[in-house]
Amino acid sequence: MGKRHLGAGLAVGALLAASLAVPAGADDGIRSGYSYMTPETKGMQDDDFQNPGMIWVDDGEKLWNTVDGKAGKACATCHKDAATSMKGVATVYPKYDPKIKKVKNIEWQVNNCRTERMQAKPWKYESGQLLAMTVYIRHQSRGMPMNVSVDGDAIPFFQAGEKFYNQRRGLLDMACKHCHADNAGKNARANLLSQGQTNGFPVYRLKWQKAGSTHRRFRGCNKQVRATPYKAGSDEYMNLELYVAWRGRGLPVETPAVRN
């Protein structure tokens, strides 16, 4: 994975967008975290009733239609039906925003809408509301291939994310790539290492017993290599989220996925 693949990756992304029938990521050996799960966990995700992540979808739908803030608006006031207006959104986020000259993710955009347009208080990262809203928005793109833009203005942020991904850190002196690029599919003691794809996020993680965001997962990974984690919503993690989303280009959005 690297610059070598950048051009080819974009072309593949465009191809996949044109044809949904292509098996996700089959060309490059890109595998969703789903394929590493046990049959029981897969079954949980496949059955919408049994999938506990659907609780957050239901909560998100309620919040979508709830008026909040001084402007007297709900998400639905401007965006109407999420099933149409939010369709495909998950496939292109995180993306570059020329206004802030940074990369933003869905959580950031939700809070920006809340403060700027609804004049409401922003939700805390990892709070029940922000998770529910993110799950709900990403859920609208379920089955669509991930296709983030990493050209133009996004290039420096993509490169920063790539650098982070390949940079050793912590007492164990390990980079993201040591587990998720070099050794994916092998066991680290009892744990089967996945490619660390984000297409199913925010996921319902059985270990957490609740839904959690990509940034929570990043923090967990950083702690496991005994590094000091960055804050959820930090620039470092935004860039990393962009890079990791690009790594999973073409994978179908699975939100809310179930992982162990």
Binding site: F49, D58, Q209
Partner: protein, 108 residues
């Protein structure tokens, strides 16, 4: 706050055995965890009893313990008798009950 969901087939044939699926959102706090900041134990708060009645008659009941995961999913089978209501009750440690009801139509 607990929200419950149940799924039963809309209509079944008399004598048929059908599957009932239930899922309730609940933290299922085990009582073993400690608050990271204060170091004090977080008190146990779980659903300890689940009962399903079919037209008033108990058809399924189970006692739950601290090892049950959060957001418990429970599926079981019931034999169709008469048309009527399936009533579900989840009772937590404080004695608070969450109730849900589902209609089932028996044909033939």
């Amino acid at each position: 706050m607990a929200k419950a969901r149940v799924k039963v087939p809309k209509s079944v044939k008399k004598g048929e055995v059908f599957e009932v699926k239930t899922l309730i959102s609940h933290k299922m706090e085990t009582g073993q965890r400690k608050d990271k900041k204060t170091g004090k134990k977080i008190p146990r708060m779980i659903i300890n009893k689940f009962v399903c009645t079919y037209n008033g008659k108990e058809v399924f009941t189970s006692d739950w313990h601290p090892a049950i995961s959060a957001n418990p999913y429970m599926a079981f089978f019931v034999k169709a008798g008469e048309s009527g209501n399936l009533d579900f009750t989840w009772t937590d440690d404080k004695g608070k009950a969450t109730k849900k009801s589902a209609k089932v139509t028996v044909t033939g």
